[in-house]
């Protein structure tokens, strides 16, 4: 061989057989080390490029969808009523049963039962007794007058309105805000234009809140937590010019239905701070400027209606203050604020979905009766349970549908927590609607947290060509010499062993 000839000349050349890098085992070790690194690195590469997708409790979620929360309700007719009409009990029972069959949506989650004796101490035992007039009394009592007590139809209609209040159409479902643990109530006194003659500088908001809003809040505190803030603003121009309407000898600014929808000048009014992510309910007391006062809401024919407040669904309410202000007083006293805050309290209750008192019933005492509160609790708990079921189901569906959506340990834990809370909600519904609501609210927040987990973001969509385009320039150029060297080495080894064999 040539190389041998070079080596023999004894100049600078060495025998290739003696060169360290030409020795067979060294060359093979070099090659092998490359391959070992590649093979060892392969699991890491696989692990690092694959998406973590833990298995979710799919079958549990599916079976949860079949379940529903059920509140057992027991109604007891006092002896004073059942003595008068012994068959009343069964008549009312039949009527209520029919109503439940005819309107299944309204009665979802309610299992109503009429009891003869008052011996069973259930958490939601309602008593109906004879009284002077038909009215709601304290602690789940209902008094009915003599004529109403005679009629099974009247009794069953009162009872069903109290226990499963009808949702009066879409306006109701749109008006009520979505359930949340926390709400912020923002009370704003807006002066359209603080010209010296006519504006309100201060208001006795603390007293008014304490009288009208706080009692309601404390009653609703088993459902929600509230934060209250208030402010006064001195320049809040309207974004439109109200039409002037002549009424007899006076001229007023008329707000049509259309004007009401654009009344809020969101571009220029700052009504609530944005310090937290809780939903805000706005309550605005609007003082029109001198040129626009008095300001009235008018109906479609242009006649002023006898109301100075209106409600924007899920947003809040607005009260237009038209009282003849003393030019000397820049202060709104507690007495001035009474009608305003009575109105705000009603509207707050409406926004939060408190069912109205059925027509023809008188309420004794405070703001909300236990009947209303219980109905609200049941309704919200049912909504929360359905919401969390839907959310859990959509998580399962989306993970199934979108292949590169990661599912981490946190998400899985949240889903399991939500399932456990749902279970607790079903369990406690029998004894206490308030506890059931607490659990259902936890289930909803857990399910939502799982859904909104930042780690759940699906990787962006890459077409297969993009993946080839990334990997090929790198791996094709590395793999060709490696594979070729391996094949060559293998053939050299084979030839060598054949030569040895021949020798």
């Amino acid at each position: 061989m040539n190389s041998a000839a070079f080596a023999n000349t004894g100049s600078g050349f060495k025998d290739p057989e003696k060169l360290s890098f030409e020795r067979d085992w060294i060359r093979r070790a070099v090659l092998a080390s490359y391959w070992i690194v590649i093979i060892l690195a392969f699991p890491f590469w696989w692990h690092l490029t694959s998406i973590e997708r833990l298995a979710l409790p799919t079958s549990q979620v599916r079976s949860q969808l079949q379940n529903n929360i059920v509140f057992p309700i027991a109604i007891h007719f006092d002896a004073s009523i059942s003595q008068q009409n012994p068959t009343l009990n069964s008549q009312v029972q039949t009527l209520l049963h029919d109503s439940a069959i005819n309107e299944p949506g309204r009665w979802t989650g309610v299992d109503i039962r009429l009891q003869d004796r008052n011996d069973e101490v259930a958490s939601s035992l309602y008593t109906v007794a004879l009284g002077e007039q038909t009215s709601i009394a304290h602690s789940r009592n209902l008094r009915v007058n003599r004529t109403d007590a005679q009629s099974a139809t009247r009794l069953s209609s009162i009872l069903s309105d109290l226990i499963a209040p009808p949702e009066s159409g879409t306006s109701h479902s749109q008006r009520v805000v979505q359930y949340s643990d926390h709400y912020r109530l923002a009370f704003t006194l807006l002066n359209e234009d603080a010209t010296p003659n006519r504006f309100v500088a201060t208001w006795d908001v603390q007293a008014a809140l304490a009288e009208f809003i706080y009692p309601l809040m404390s009653q609703l505190s088993i459902l929600h937590n509230f934060t209250v803030e208030s402010q006064v603003q001195y320049h809040a121009p309207l974004a439109f010019e109200p039409r002037r309407v002549t009424l007899g000898d006076t001229e007023v600014s008329g707000l049509t239905q259309e004007d009401l929808t654009v009344f809020i000048n969101s571009a220029e009014w700052t009504l609530a701070s944005s310090v937290s992510n809780d939903p805000v309910l706005h309550f605005v007391l609007f003082v029109p400027s001198e040129t626009h006062s008095p300001m009235n809401i008018v109906d479609s024919e242009g006649r002023p209606i006898n109301q100075s407040s209106f409600l924007l669904p899920q947003w809040g309410s607005i009260f237009i203050l038209n009282n003849e202000l003393n030019s000397s007083s820049l202060h709104l006293s507690y007495n001035d604020l009474k009608p305003v805050f009575r109105n705000f309290a009603t509207q707050l209750a409406a926004l939060l979905g408190v069912p109205p008192v059925p027509f023809g019933l008188i309420m004794e005492g405070s703001f909300l009766s236990d009947w209303q509160l219980d109905a609200l609790l049941r309704h919200r708990a049912l909504q929360n349970v359905q919401g969390s079921q839907d959310t859990l189901h959509s998580i399962i569906k989306l993970v199934d549908q979108i292949n590169n959506m990661p599912v981490g340990q946190v998400v899985r834990d949240d889903v399991l927590d939500a399932l456990a809370s749902l279970h607790e909600a079903y369990r406690t519904a029998v004894t206490s609607p308030a506890l059931a609501l607490r659990w259902s609210s936890k289930a909803l927040s857990m399910a939502s947290r799982a859904f909104f987990n930042p780690g759940m973001l699906a990787l962006l969509y890459f077409p297969a060509e993009h993946k080839y385009a990334v990997y090929t320039p790198l791996f094709a150029s590395i793999s060709v010499p490696l594979v070729v060297a391996l094949i060559r080495e293998f053939m050299a080894w084979k030839r060598g062993s054949r030569d040895n064999g021949r020798r």
């Binding site: 309107e103 009808p166 009066s168 159409g169 879409t170 109701h172 749109q174 008006r175 979505q178 439109f240 239905q257 259309e258 004007d259 009401l260 929808t261 654009v262 009344f263 809020i264 969101s266 571009a267 944005s274 310090v275 937290s276 992510n277 939903p279 809401i297 109301q307 407040s309 209106f310 409600l311 924007l312 669904p313 899920q314 947003w315 109105n343 009603t346 509207q347 409406a350 027509f359 959310t391 959509s394 989306l398 979108i402 939502s448 859904f451 909104f452 987990n453 930042p454 759940m456 973001l457 699906a458 962006l460 969509y461 297969a464 094709a476 060709v480 594979v483 070729v484 094949i487 060559r488």
Partner: protein, 399 residues
């Protein structure tokens, strides 16, 4: 290669046949449940759209001085939705925001959308929520799906619910089924479609109007599959969107043609206008816009000539004088006659676009072609592996 092609020929025929059969069966079978669903929807929201709040997401996906017009597009839309009553807290504006204070901007602190510079869009009352390098595909998808960091402030979140109507506007440089974000990354039509689906699953919207101004814009909404989405774009596939005019003092194009005409139409709209979406779509003129704007309404459940523009661009939809007397037992609104579903509405000849009746079959067909593409990819992949293998063995045997 030739033999392979001939082998595939019968398969191709078969595929075409199944395509056709699936389309025919699908189009005849899907009409009944669609009607039912529409009826269900209308009984649920019998008072118009059924929304109580409006949101807008405005995205300018490009940066640098020469893309001045995209910033102007987004700011023009911002000004319009704000003027029509969407509060700043409900507008999410994503803007590279590097033109107003660019060293090359002769009119520092101002952005104009027309030659002559009459209206400063930047002004003194503007709230950019995602600025500069925050405008990324990831942030956009996170914003839509709600999967944001817990520490994210309220102004950067889309706090919508099932009573929200959302207007999504995007502008930038794009191509077939993608839109570039700041010359670095791109969002594909699939990403947007999946994000909308996730929003629908979590009940994060009532209706969406998706509007996009970019080259080949109509491809961007082709993959959307979630209900109650109305989509419109500036140009067809293989078609560019052109700018409208230059300003000689600013030295670059100041607005895109499509957006210019949309904004021009919007100037005639106020908060209480009774104009409908169909009026906006009828105003599209491909000759003036230099491209063919598209509309996709097959997912949208209301007739376009009954859908108010202010349902998407406006503020609040309804107000109740209070207290309202609740009428006990008035549950008969469920039996209202359903309005006929939208998709059967005949196309108006003046509109230069493919409207819903033909688009209905599109997703299914693309599904088939997708399968066909996949098969092709398989074939190509194995062929290339075979060729590489041949090369490797050839190199190793020839010494």
């Amino acid at each position: 290669m030739f033999s392979m092609r001939f082998q595939l020929l019968p398969q191709a025929c078969l595929l075409l046949l199944t395509c056709f059969v699936a389309w025919a069966v699908g189009s005849s079978g899907s009409s009944a449940p669609a009607g039912e669903r529409a009826a269900d929807f209308f009984s649920r929201h019998d008072s118009g759209s059924g929304h109580t709040n409006n949101w807008a997401v405005l995205v300018c996906a490009s940066r640098y001085w020469f893309n001045y017009r995209h910033m102007a597009n987004a700011l023009g839309m911002y000004r319009t939705v704000k003027r029509l009553g969407i509060p700043d807290s409900n507008i999410i504006l994503m803007l590279a925001d590097d033109v107003a204070c660019n060293a090359r901007n002769k009119f520092a602190g101002s952005v104009y959308a027309e030659a002559g510079r009459h209206l400063d869009l930047y002004g003194n009352n503007i709230e950019v929520d995602y600025r500069g390098y925050e405008v990324t595909v990831e942030n956009f998808i996170r914003l839509l799906t709600g999967r944001v960091d817990p520490s994210m402030p309220r102004s950067k979140r889309l706090l919508t619910d099932d009573h929200s109507n959302i207007f999504v506007y995007m502008t930038g440089h794009g191509g077939n089924e993608f839109l570039k974000f700041q010359d670095q990354e791109e969002i594909s039509a699939f990403d947007i479609a999946d994000a909308f689906e996730q929003m629908w699953q979590k009940k994060r919207y009532n209706e969406i109007l998706f509007m996009i101004d970019t080259c080949q814009a109509n491809t961007m909404y082709s993959q959307i599959y979630s209900p109650n989405i109305l989509a419109t774009g500036s140009s067809q596939i293989e078609e560019n969107s052109y700018s409208y005019e230059n300003d000689n003092d600013i030295g670059v194009s100041v607005i895109d043609s499509y957006t210019h005409y949309v904004l021009k139409f919007m100037e005639g709209i106020n908060k209480t206008s009774q104009a409908f979406m169909q009026d906006l779509f009828d105003s599209y003129d491909p000759v003036k816009i230099y491209s063919h704007p598209g509309i996709r309404s097959d997912l949208f459940r209301r007739p376009l000539d009954k859908t108010l523009i202010t349902d998407f661009f406006g503020g609040i939809a309804q107000a109740e004088a209070f207290p309202l007397q609740d009428i006990v037992g008035s549950s008969n609104h469920h039996e209202n006659d359903p309005t006929p579903p939208t998709s059967q509405k005949p196309d108006t000849p003046s509109v230069p676009v493919v409207l819903s009746p033909t688009v209905v079959s599109l997703p299914r067909l693309t599904g088939e072609t997708h399968a066909w593409d996949n098969r092709w990819k398989e074939v190509r992949k194995w062929t290339s592996i075979f060729v590489v293998g041949c090369l490797v063995s050839w190199v190793s045997f020839v010494r």
